[in-house]
């Protein structure tokens, strides 16, 4: 019983740390960088002012990728501890 519990605890600890990392990246690209949008606009990215680009497209792309990364890693964690669903 003890071993099973600690496995579950480990699973949750890894899930929590993955989620924390995802949320840090999320914070940076959803809010953090936009405090500096004005400075970013002095740089250009394939023709776009960078601050405008991030808000109109860049951050959106990052969000999609971020969820895919989260899913892939979480599925690995679930399999590692044998708590993935049977298919």
């Amino acid at each position: 019983m003890g071993a099973i519990m600690s496995d579950l605890e480990q699973h949750w600890a890894e899930t929590r740390s993955l989620t924390t990392w995802i949320l840090i990246v999320w914070f940076i690209f959803s809010m953090g960088i936009f405090f500096f949008a004005d400075s970013l606009n002095s740089m250009t990215f394939f023709g776009w002012p960078l601050g405008f680009y991030m808000a109109a497209q860049g951050s959106l792309v990052i969000f999609v990728v971020l969820i895919v990364v989260l899913n892939t890693k979480q599925e690995k964690i679930d399999e590692k501890y044998g708590v993935a669903e049977d298919e």
């Binding site: 579950l8 699973h11 949750w12 899930t15 989620t19 995802i22 949320l23 999320w26 690209f29 959803s30 809010m31 936009f34 405090f35 500096f36 949008a37 004005d38 970013l40 606009n41 250009t44 990215f45 394939f46 023709g47 776009w48 002012p49 601050g51 405008f52 680009y53 808000a55 109109a56 497209q57 951050s59 959106l60 792309v61 969000f63 999609v64 971020l66 969820i67 895919v68 989260l70 899913n71 979480q74 599925e75 679930d78 044998g82 708590v83 993935a84 669903e85 049977d86 298919e87």
Partner: protein
């Protein structure tokens, strides 16, 4: 029975493939008929009637009397299709018709909505969807009521859900009415009821199952209707094949033109009801308070997204926890397709209007010349735009051109000189967007009232048939109430769409998150948090909107959810810690929710 269901799910790609082909064939047929001389009005009517009849047909075919099918579509919707359905559920008539216009007028500041309405899905994927799916609830208050225990917590969940969703749904019914009225040339009041009739046909007989399969169909229509005109216009005007990837230079050109035309310097000296002149430079982000306003708005939209029940409940319909997670990724991808197009469309429209070197440019030309243009005449006749030579010099300046934001999407085909069939397509797309969101919202409210209020609180012995009939009666009554409110045209007191997000985050965000992520969270904490969070948010909204209070730190009526959710969080932690910890059964339940393997926490049919 099981066998038949399997084949249906396996056949989905084929069914929707044929459906998409059929829709494209219909567009081509309309284009041919237009060439043969069919009138623009008839084409518009055919587009609306044809698509609405198809949705209603899907709704009829999906009718059911099973609880599991009615509330969660039998939990068998594959991730990809649930992603499409969520995208349609999510993108409202406002996203479809008004977003590009919002960017046109608001520039960088408005993009906070784009960031918020997409970034929220990271929260849904990481904090909510997989865990709520594992829980096995039918509705969002079902989770609150079971996790925290007690009817009071459940009831508060229902109240927040109803307030947030109803704020949103009247705007959607209003949009279906506007589109139906224009396309079918009937009075707005009649259009509202026609729209409601279509909405109810999609949801009443089959509940979540019917809404799921119509929403997939509606997504296909709306995304085709949004992208085709943009691609076509872009190619025709020489902006490139995939304009979303190459409009950077155009953004810079717009900035130059705005300086030439003195955008932001020349202020309008007249005003027209519902119309605006361009006064905000496109890319200017500003510092200090402007950045703060951007970030706070994005935060509200993100936390609101992760708390809105009509979105969360879509992830209850997938076959597994894993597919719920994957389905969030698909949802965001399908939403992204429209959202990354809107700023490109806003940029091109701006360029076409501002650039004197383009044939379409109007600013800087003589008033007489501009007044002779077809699309100007057509849209000023319906009061969507106005031209007034305020300074009497005979030349159109930037502060003398007034329009409604919706024009950016609605008039694109005409500004670029595309055939009328494209305008019909755009109307069908707007209708699909508004109907799918209205359906999701009405169902979320009716399901919470029938499942949580009627079955779980009032009459736990009610039999299945009675529960499902109650759910349907509620759907009709709520729809009628929504349509009635919409037909009163009380636009000035019907709040902004943003309010729905603020209400939802004030009441539900932390009770949902902490329910999974903090075992120590208990009933007393959740009840106090929801109550005080929701009340303080609402009070703040009232005070800054009508009570004459100065917004605190720039947190205005669009951002009141920040106050509500902060109060909610603090109250929940303090009260939870001051009272006893949840019992062992509840703690075990939380452990169960955290792993994908095993049975759902709530029985399959409850």
């Amino acid at each position: 029975m099981e066998q038949a269901k399997k084949t249906f799910i396996e056949m989905l790609p084929k069914i929707y493939g044929m459906y998409t082909g059929g829709f494209i064939a219909f567009i081509i047929l309309m284009a041919i008929l237009e060439q043969m001389g069919l009138g623009a009005d008839t084409i518009g009517i055919l587009f609306i009637v044809f698509t609405v009849v198809v949705y209603a047909g899907i709704g009829w075919l999906s009718r059911t009397m099973q609880v599991e099918a009615y509330y969660v579509a039998g939990r068998q919707v594959p991730a990809l299709f649930n992603g499409m359905a969520t995208a349609a559920d999510w993108m409202s008539g406002a996203s479809f018709v008004a977003m590009a216009g919002g960017i046109y007028f608001g520039g960088h500041g408005y993009l906070a909505f784009l960031v918020g309405w997409t970034g929220g899905y990271v929260l849904v994927a990481s904090l909510m969807a997989p865990y709520l799916r594992k829980f096995g609830c039918y509705t969002v208050p079902d989770f609150i009521g079971t996790r925290y225990g007690g009817n009071l917590a459940r009831l508060l969940g229902v109240i927040v859900l109803v307030v947030a969703s109803f704020t949103y749904v009247t705007a959607q019914i209003n949009a279906t009415g506007t589109i139906a009225a224009r396309a079918l040339q009937i009075p707005f009041e009649v259009g509202v009821w026609f729209g409601l009739f279509g909405i109810l046909l999609c949801s009443m007989l089959g509940g979540m199952r019917a809404v799921t399969w119509t929403q997939v169909a509606q997504y296909i229509v709306l995304i085709i209707a949004y992208l085709i005109p943009v691609f076509w216009m872009s190619n025709k005007q020489g902006f490139g094949l995939i304009p979303q990837l190459v409009y950077g230079e155009a953004v810079q050109r717009v900035t130059e033109l705005e300086q030439i035309h003195q955008v932001g310097v020349l202020k309008p000296t007249e005003s027209f009801a519902g119309l605006k002149a361009l006064t905000v430079p496109f890319v200017e982000a500003g510092t200090g308070m402007s950045s703060w306003k951007f970030v706070t708005l994005a935060f509200c939209m993100m936390a609101g997204t992760a708390s809105l029940p009509h979105i969360l409940m879509r992830y209850f319909t997938t076959p597994s926890v894993k597919s719920a997670r994957r389905s969030v990724a698909w949802s965001l991808f399908f939403i992204f397709l429209l959202y990354f197009t809107a700023p490109a469309l806003a940029t091109f429209t701006k360029l076409q209007i501002l650039d004197p070197n383009l044939a379409t440019g109007i600013i800087g030309k003589s008033i007489a010349e501009v007044n002779a243009i077809d699309w100007i005449q057509k849209w000023s006749a319906v009061k969507f735009l106005a031209i007034s030579d305020s300074n009497g010099d005979g030349i159109l300046q930037i502060n003398e051109f007034f329009m409604r934001g919706d024009i950016v999407v609605l008039a694109t085909p005409e500004i670029a000189g595309l055939p009328y069939v494209i305008s019909g397509l755009v109307a069908a797309g707007g209708m699909a967007a508004a109907m799918s969101t209205a359906d999701g919202l009405l169902l979320a409210i009716a399901n919470a009232l029938s499942h949580d209020l009627y079955y779980k609180i009032i009459d736990p012995t009610a039999e299945t048939a009675k529960r499902l009939i109650a759910a349907r009666i509620l759907l009709v009554v709520l729809g009628a109430a929504g349509a009635f409110v919409a037909s009163l045209k009380l636009t000035s007191i019907l709040g902004a769409v943003a309010w729905a997000f603020d209400f939802a985050m004030s009441g539900l965000f932390f009770p949902l998150v902490l329910g999974v992520w903090w075992k120590r969270a208990n009933r007393q904490g959740a009840v106090a948090g929801m109550l005080l969070g929701f009340l303080s948010g609402t009070w703040y909204l009232y005070m800054v909107r009508w009570g004459g209070m100065e917004p605190w730190l720039g947190i205005d009526h669009l951002r009141f959810g920040i106050i509500g959710c902060a109060v909610n969080l603090v109250t929940m932690i303090v009260v939870s810690l001051a009272t006893e910890e949840p019992d062992e059964a509840t703690q075990k339940m939380v452990d169960e929710v955290r792993i994908p393997k095993g049975e759902t926490v709530l029985a399959a049919s409850h």
